[in-house]
Amino acid sequence: MDKRILYYSGLIWGKLPLITAVGISILAVLLACTDTNTPVSLRPEVTTRYLIWVGGIGAILAAVSILRPESPGDIESLATVQTKTSRVILSRWAIVLTLNVVPAWGALLVATLLSGRPLLATWASGAIAYLSAIVLMGGVALYFSAIGRQSLIGIVGGIFFLLVVTLVPIPERFQAINMLRSGEAWTQPNLWWGSRLTYISIGTALGWMGSVRLGDFDYLLTGRRATSAQSNPSHRTTGKRTPNLFPDQFFAFGRNALPLGSGFLANAWVYDAWQVLLRGAFPIAVLSLVILTCGLACFGLDWEIHLAIDAPRSAMLFGTLIIPLLTCDTIPAERRMGSDQLSLSARSLPAYLKDKVFGNVAVVWIALLIGALPVCIFYFLTIMMDTRLSIAALVMWSGITLPYFIYLTAISTQLGALFGGRSGYVAGVILAVGGIILYVLTGEIPLLNYLFPCGPAAADTLFGWVQGFPPERLSGPSLVVPLWTLVLFPLSALIQIIIFYKASIAILLRRSA
C-alpha cells in the first residue's frame, strides 16, 4: 500500500489509538513505579493486565471508527475507490492496531526495566499477551459493528466481551488461557502460547469477516445480505424504505414516535432522560448487565463479602471505563445531527447543559438500579442477619457507587459539551483512561479518594470495619467510619460537579460570544 495512504489513514484514524497509547504509557509507568501493594518482581504482569483493559477499550473504539456503518457518508465515499473495500478496511485496522500496540510495547519495556526481571523474556510474554488481546478485542468489535450495522453495537459488544473474559473465573490450573495473564508463559508454555495463537487467529478471522461484511454496501444500507439478483419478486405497492432489522428497531424505536406532547412533562431534563432511555435502550441494558455481572461473577470467592463490597467495587471499575463512553457524546451527537435548534430553543445555555446532565444522570441511576437490585436481593437472601455487612453493602452501593456514577456521568456529559461538534468519544476515551489512572492512584494516595470518589480505599476500609479491625490496623489508607464516608463522598462529588458545571458554562458562554 502506498505510504501516503498510510500517512493519511494515520492522520484520520490515529487519534484514538494515540490517546490510548499516551494513557497506557502513563498508566504503565505509574504501576511500575508506584504500586506498593505488588512486589516489584510481579509488577510487569500486573501492568500487562491493566494495559489490556485500557488498551482493549482503545482498540475497540479505534476499530469501529474506521468505518461507521450507520453513516451513509462514510460508506458512499468508498463507492469509487479502486482497491477492494475489505482491503481498505483491513489496512485501516492494521494502522490503528499498530498505533495501539507499538507504544504499549514501549511502555511495557519501561515497566520490565524497572522490575529488574530478565528483560527479553518478561517483556516478550507481556508484549505477546497484549498483542493477542488487542487483536481479539479489535476483531470482535469490528465484527459486531459490521453485522449489527451500528458502530455502537461494536463498542458495546466489544466492551461486554472484554468484561466477560475478564470476570469469568478460570480454574487455577487453566490460568494460562486467561487473556490477561502473561506470567504463565514460562510455567505452562504450551497452553499459554496455544491460547495466544488462538486469540490472534480468532481476532484476525473476526476482523477479516467484519471487513468483508463492511465491504458489502448493500447489506450496510439495507440490512439484507446481497447474493444474486432475485427473480420474480412479489411486488406490492411502492413506498419508502422501512428497515425492520432488529438492531435498527432496537436503537430507533420511539425515535419518531415519542408519545409526548409539549407540556406533557414539565421539566426538560425528564424529557431528555426519557429520550435517552428510548434511544439508548441497548447501552443502558449493557451498563445494567455489567453491574449485574460484576455482582454475580464471584464463584469460588467469599459470597457475602463479595456481594457486599467487591461487587460494587468492580462495578465502579468498569463504570469508570463505560460511563464516559456512553455519556460523553450526548451533546456532540446532537450538534452533529444539526439539531442546534435544540440548544438554541432552550431557555439558556446553562439550562440546556443542566437538562442534559440531569437527563443522563437519571438514566445512569436507572441502569444502576436495574443492575444492583438483583445483586442486593441475592445478598439479603444469602445473609440477612449480619448487620455490619448490611451497613457495608448499603454504604458501598448508595454512599459510594451511586455518587461516583452520578459524578462520572455529570463530568463526562460536560466534558463532551466542551468538545463542541467533534466526536465525544475522544473525550470519552480521555476520561476513561484518566479515570483508570486515578482509580489506580487512589490506592496509593488517601486524599485522592475524596477528590476522585471512586471508592477502592473506602471498600478496603469497609472491609476492615466488617472484620472488626480498628481503622489504624488497615493496610490501605484509613478513611474514617462508614457513616462518615456516606456523607463525605457524595459531598465531594457534588462540590466538584458544581465547580465543573460553573467552569463549563463560563467556557461555553465565552466560546459562543
Partner: protein
C-alpha cells in the same frame, strides 16, 4: 453507455423503492426529478453499485454490474457525489483530494499534484487549499465534495443534490461545469430538487415518483405539455376556491396579489408561458392533459 433493464429494488420489510425501471443513458446531462422518497437516491446507489437490484439488469459500457468485471469497471469510470459527504475533518482540502486521488488509483505524485491543482481551480477552492476541512463553511465543503467526485476525469458522473448550499454564483459555475462535461461526451446524471438547475443544464429529464418513471424526455417536451394549463389571477375570491396543491406562487403586484396556478382555468385568470416547475407540478399531481 448505461442500460437499466426492468430493475426492481425491494428493501427488507417488503417496500419497493424502485419498481420496474428501464432506462438508457448516453453521453449528455440527465436530470432526475421527483418528490422526497421517490426513489432517486436508491436509483443512483444502484447505478454506482452500492446497492444491488432485487431483479433486473444494469450494464455499464456493456458490462453487467452484477459481475466482478462490471463492478471493477464502474469504480474506474465513476465519479460520485453523494448527498451526505464523507469528508475527513482533520485533513486539509489539498490532502483530502490527494487521499481520494490515491484511493482512485492515481499513483504518480506529479499527476496527482496536477489533478489536485486543476480541481481546486475548477471548484474555486485555491485559496482554501491549506485549510482543514472541519474549518470550511457548508458551501465550501460541498464544493470540495464536487471536486472529489471529479477526480480522475470520470466518464460517468452521478451527482446527488450538488448545488444545495451553494451561493448563486457557485451554482451557475457548477451548472456550467456539468454542461461542459456533458458536451465532452460523458454521462452526467444530476439529481436535484432545484428545478432551475435541470432546466438550465439537462438534455433529458426523468421524473420519478414512488419508484416508477412518470416522464422521460426533453425538458422542452414536458414544458410543451403544460401549455395552456398555467394561469395567473389577482382575484382573491378565485384563489380562495382553489385546491392548495394547484398553487405555484404568489407575488405582490401594484394591483394586488398575483397568484400563479396550474390545472383548469378560472373565469378571470389569464394564461401564461409554463416553466419546467409548472410542468413538473402538473405531472406529479396528475393534472396534465389526457393526451400526455
Amino acid at each position: 453507455m448505461i442500460t437499466i433493464q426492468n430493475v426492481f429494488k425491494t428493501y427488507p420489510g417488503g417496500c419497493h423503492a424502485i419498481h420496474d425501471i428501464s432506462l438508457t443513458f448516453d453521453a449528455g446531462v440527465y436530470g432526475l426529478l421527483g418528490p422526497n422518497g421517490a426513489g432517486k437516491t436508491t436509483l443512483m446507489r444502484l447505478l454506482v453499485g452500492l446497492l444491488r437490484p432485487t431483479s433486473g439488469k444494469i450494464e455499464i459500457d456493456g458490462l453487467s454490474l452484477a459481475s466482478p468485471e462490471g463492478q471493477e469497471h464502474v469504480r474506474k469510470v465513476l465519479g460520485y457525489l453523494p448527498q451526505e459527504l464523507g469528508l475527513h475533518g482533520v485533513l486539509t482540502v489539498e490532502q483530502e483530494l490527494d487521499y481520494f486521488a490515491l484511493l482512485k488509483g492515481l499513483r504518480s505524485e506529479v499527476a496527482r499534484r496536477k489533478e489536485v491543482a486543476y480541481l481546486l481551480e475548477q471548484v474555486g477552492l485555491v485559496e482554501q487549499h491549506r485549510l482543514r476541512i472541519k474549518d470550511l463553511s457548508g458551501g465550501q465543503k460541498r464544493r470540495l465534495g464536487i471536486a472529489v467526485s471529479l477526480i480522475g476525469q470520470p466518464h460517468l458522473l452521478i451527482v446527488d443534490e450538488p448545488t444545495a448550499g451553494l451561493d448563486p454564483a457557485e451554482r451557475v459555475r457548477f451548472r456550467n461545469l456539468l454542461s461542459e462535461l456533458g458536451a465532452e461526451g460523458r454521462v452526467v446524471i444530476l439529481s436535484t430538487h432545484i428545478v432551475d438547475d435541470i432546466a438550465q443544464t439537462c438534455r433529458e429529464l426523468i421524473v420519478i415518483q414512488s419508484g416508477t418513471i412518470l416522464f422521460q424526455g426533453s425538458v422542452s417536451i414536458l414544458t410543451k405539455y403544460a401549455q395552456g394549463q398555467v394561469w395567473v389571477t389577482t382575484n382573491a375570491d378565485e384563489i380562495a376556491g382553489l385546491d392548495p396543491s394547484r398553487l405555484v406562487s404568489s407575488c405582490q403586484k401594484e394591483d394586488g396579489t398575483e397568484t400563479r396556478f396550474i390545472g383548469q382555468s378560472t373565469p378571470l385568470a389569464r394564461t401564461v408561458q409554463p416553466t419546467l416547475e409548472d410542468a413538473y407540478l402538473l405531472l406529479i399531481h396528475n393534472l396534465l392533459r389526457p393526451d400526455f
